[in-house]
Symmetry: C2
Subunit: 322 residues, 2 copies
């Protein structure tokens, strides 16, 4: 990403009618967006959310406050427009695409065996790459969202494996576990680490043993994005687990990632550190679905509009510093 | 503000298809909005920004990085739609009203005499109250914005007087002072505290001696809002100085205030503490104009839309906790 482009973006910002730097993170967001697009004056109007849903075998191990059936029920809710993400998407003019990445045909419990076969993983990654190519034709900026009862346990296990953490360090309340539930979740993760013995295994093999089908599709999506120069807005803990898998598989996938919010889920701080990410929002949200990604995309679109539309000191006849 | 209304709002939130509390601060924002409106299912669609501009005599004392003429020049820029606040307002469908609260006819330097006469202050407060009545007929939620070269010094002096702080504790970089400039600003504030000897004076007299005409109009606006049940979104350091004056004059004015962001201006943290305010956004912005207020209003509108539009577990056929 070129120094000349950074200089051009900074020069435009600094000639707009405001003190230099006074729009704070909005200036950074617009700059990051320009760098991903490789364009000093890009549009950012067509926003989409790709919402990947899948069942998780691990949900049968007593790690969630909600029954597994909720995944399928919520997919119907998304399709009818009744979920939080739908209301936010309407308000922000974001198109939502709900993708069945494995509802009904989900993963196996990683407490007992590998979550996916090699063929299942390969197929999910390929599907994610294909969705990214589709998204790139329709949208300037795309967010990721997810639904899958049990998937905070899956995401926490991936974090533990990739970052060499204990269950206690990565397990959080998810949809609303109490202290005993969180302890059970941490124990499940520790037991899975012993079972799969992932030291020295490839990042792809870690994803196969512990991942979810929606996480694998999002990983494929993120791996494909750089060659499309497609900016991808991450949401919370689950989508960031896909981001972590993607950067371990191919570090260049980091270049097209944007981050929306710091979630209230316990392990998200560690995850963001591992991703070297400082998201602009901290609204104590912990719902997933892409709700944070929509707010983050709205902020980037606002930043780019301000960047494009503001008058310069010269054009507006406004005096500079005394 | 009634317990029955709080219970009704919480009951609605908790019956929506999401884990209780998982929308974090969005749930709080919608709840606060309902309480101000006195309605368990209010609309929040018609947003307006009232942007008050005025000149400050203190700007002649070498406390700003920009010349005084910029206030008038920026008012023209607002009217032509070229400023940051205009671009943000277009993107968020917020109507902007620019009010000449004293451009050209501004205050006198509070380093030499009282900034306003009693008649000037009374007239500004009355004008602000009238704007609030007008706003209440046209908008569900109104933000405050301001423009006035020198007004971070005015706001810092008000903070020092109301909170008994030194110049060094309240003076910040404003539009971009260096260390020497900030030290000069702090010294100006300390000298003004000695000159006006405000110990034991009424909050209104403090405002008359140190305030600005835009700040006084916003104070009047905030004093009138409770009887209109009009939610008013504050912006950064300057609008919060008006909020501080308003709560010292009449503590009930706090009830209709909403807060948008923590600005990067040095004294804003102290100001927010004095107002017992925890704004949802921290984007390191320090521009004023109402730019933060627009983002804050957008967040409240999103929160209320989600609150109103989401399906319940029963309607969507989604299972509750196991």
């Amino acid at each position: 990403m070129s120094d000349a482009l950074i200089d051009a973006v900074n020069a435009r910002w600094n000639s707009r009618t405001k003190p230099p730097g006074s729009l704070g993170l909005l200036e950074n967001l617009a700059r990051d967006y320009c760098l991903i697009r490789g364009d000093s004056l890009p549009e950012c109007e067509r926003l989409g959310l790709y919402l990947f849903a899948a069942d998780h075998g691990i949900a049968d191990e007593g790690v969630s406050a909600y029954p597994k059936a909720v995944t399928r029920e919520m997919v119907k809710n998304f399709e009818r427009g009744g979920a939080a993400v739908n209301a936010l998407a309407r308000g922000h003019n974001v198109l939502v695409k709900v993708i069945d990445a494995g509802v009904g045909t989900g993963t196996r419990s990683f407490l007992r065996e590998a979550a996916m076969s090699e063929a299942e993983l390969r197929s999910a990654i390929a599907a994610g790459r294909e969705w990214a190519r589709e998204a790139s034709g329709a949208h300037d900026l795309v967010g990721l969202g997810e639904m899958g009862i049990g998937n905070t346990t899956t995401a926490a296990a991936l974090l533990a494996a990739y970052e060499n953490k204990t269950g206690a360090e990565v397990a959080g309340a998810g949809t609303g576990l109490d202290g005993a539930g969180i302890a059970r979740k941490a124990a499940v993760i520790d037991e899975a680490m012993r079972l799969h013995d992932l030291q020295g295994k490839s990042p792809m093999e870690v994803l196969r043993c512990l991942g979810g089908l929606e996480i694998a599709q999002m990983t494929g999506f993120l791996l494909e994005a750089p060659r499309l120069r497609l900016p991808v807005m991450l949401d919370g803990f689950i989508t960031c687990a896909a981001a972590l898998a993607a950067i371990r598989i191919d570090a260049t996938s980091r270049e097209t990632m944007l981050f929306s919010h710091r979630s209230a889920e316990r392990g998200h701080g560690l995850m963001l550190e591992a991703l070297d990410a400082r998201p602009p929002l901290d609204l104590e949200m912990r719902l997933g679905e892409g709700t944070g990604a929509i707010l983050g995309m709205g902020l980037v679109r606002s930043a780019v509009r301000v960047y494009r539309e503001m008058a310069s000191f010269a054009d507006a006849g406004v005096s500079g510093p005394a």
